[in-house]
Point group: C2
Chain length 302, copies 2
């Protein structure tokens, strides 16, 4: 059975466009309608035939949808909810894909206090943005975390879960606050660290930027990938998940200070022990199918 | 013309075994002899036919070689030089591949004050270690940095350069101190940061290790790759390049504090500006062929 028959996607960036591709690929009888606030994005979406219809207003996209998924940056969720407010159909389920849930849920609830809300955050992505970055298999074997507010209709939750499973994701459910803490460590902390180190490396007096680029294969280039992610979305994430991010940064800084001290004092045993421990984590990630087992992420060495 | 006809490789880990594969593939008439201090590594090397001969002692490997390349961790370079000291042929060129040069050159010079030394550090690698991790194309289109001490015979430098070019590398030359500073930022800083964050994430009370692994595709998994690198080698690198690493860590910490402050005070513009700037660096790295242009490092989404 089809969990939804008419899906509206608001926001056609990497996640929105991947959802459109995935739903059309794996639930081909569902109707997919898309909208983006940016007219240029809508034009591209029409040209690449991203959905059955691309509407000029958010309201027109949702008017007969049984599922509406907001795929805009966290800071734009409240405005997106306002834009669809008057056109939502009776019995519609609203979802959104934000990487920080507590503040986004609050922003939507302020505009739409009574809507059935089933947030679903897919822990998946690439460094690319925009309507042409999406692809149907982005969510394959990735986890999608549902954070339905207490008291949400379990049938609605089950339908959203069924949708994500149909497009290849594994589904977990947790409360929004725990979600935000988990994502602070598995996603937000890595991003702020990567953004920092790429900035540090490009701002030196005695090593040129051209040297940094040429010799980046020594490790640095790995960080540049996530530091190339969408600036608007990441600004919003850090502002919206401030407390959890600051808490993780505090812990990170303490741990870094400890290793820095070991380097300064020549404590090789402490360094060796730490470096041995961290190896095990990667093995588990590969065993659980959350990264490519090929060396160097499977990069080509042609 | 063959730059060398008899190459001895001491240390058969990722770099040593890749060199053996590469020289046999691209200079098939050169004779390659290998040695590793670990008998188990020698046994594997013989089984996989890594070289024309695998010798039980370092001395036997170098006895008639016109090029000897030390591929052991930085802290073991002095001992490796001692082990070959009495068996080096007249006119031999000695090379080594360390990621930190000033202290390694000093350690070798102490044992072999008069040898012709042409260090050559290939900025290339994967997270895997050991004699089975190597492959012939590891150095393709990667940079190899020569750091010959002042006064080194230019013919010797040219021959080492020719060897690296034949196995697919681009070659640069700089002095050892500058090399160590450049590598501190493009390689050593990223590694210590990655080792730190992987430790931080696996040591939390309120987020389980299993959650960190499951949801690692949000960015964290990128860091686990380089944090899976060889612990012995990296302990040695940080101890041997202490000053430059501490200097880069200091700058990194300042930059991180500034972004942390922007998060705390909700300064979205500062975050946005920083995140926009870092995007450009990745584009340059890809343009210069130093990373895969495919999204997500070319990881498979099957």
């Amino acid at each position: 059975m089809l969990p939804f028959s008419r899906v509206a996607i608001i926001g056609l960036g990497l996640i929105g466009s991947s959802l459109a591709h995935a739903i059309r690929a794996y639930l081909p009888t569902a109707r997919v309608v898309g909208h983006d606030a940016d007219p240029q994005v809508r034009e591209i979406a029409r040209r690449i035939d991203l959905a059955d219809d691309i509407t000029d207003t958010a309201g027109a996209a949702v008017i007969d949808a049984d599922l509406v998924i907001l795929c805009v940056p966290p800071g734009a969720m409240g405005a997106a909810a306002s834009a669809i407010k008057d056109d939502l159909a009776e019995g519609v389920i609203l979802s959104e894909v934000a990487s920080c849930q507590a503040s986004v849920i609050a922003a939507i609830r302020e505009v739409l206090p009574d809507v059935t809300l089933v947030p679903a955050h897919p822990v998946a992505g690439t460094e690319n943005s925009g309507p042409e970055a999406g692809f149907a298999t982005l969510f394959h074997n990735r986890w999608c975390i549902l954070t339905p507010p207490e008291g949400t209709d379990p049938t609605a939750v089950a339908r959203v879960e069924a949708l994500w499973q149909r497009i290849g994701a594994n589904v977990d459910t947790m409360d929004a606050t725990h979600h935000d803490l988990v994502l602070a460590v598995t996603s937000h902390l890595p991003h702020i660290i990567a953004y920092t180190i790429v900035g540090t490396a490009s701002d030196l007096e005695n090593v040129t930027r051209s040297e940094v680029i040429k010799y980046s294969a020594g490790g640095f280039r790995d960080f540049t990938r996530i530091a190339a992610s969408d600036p608007t979305m990441w600004r919003d994430v850090f502002l919206a998940n401030k407390e959890a991010v600051l808490e993780m940064l505090q812990r990170f800084t303490e741990d870094l200070t400890q290793l820095q001290r070991a380097i300064r004092w020549g404590d090789g045993d402490k360094l060796f022990d730490h470096f041995t421990k961290t190896r095990a984590i990667r093995r588990s990630i590969i065993e659980q199918g959350q990264d490519d087992a090929a060396p160097d992420f499977g990069r080509q060495h042609p």
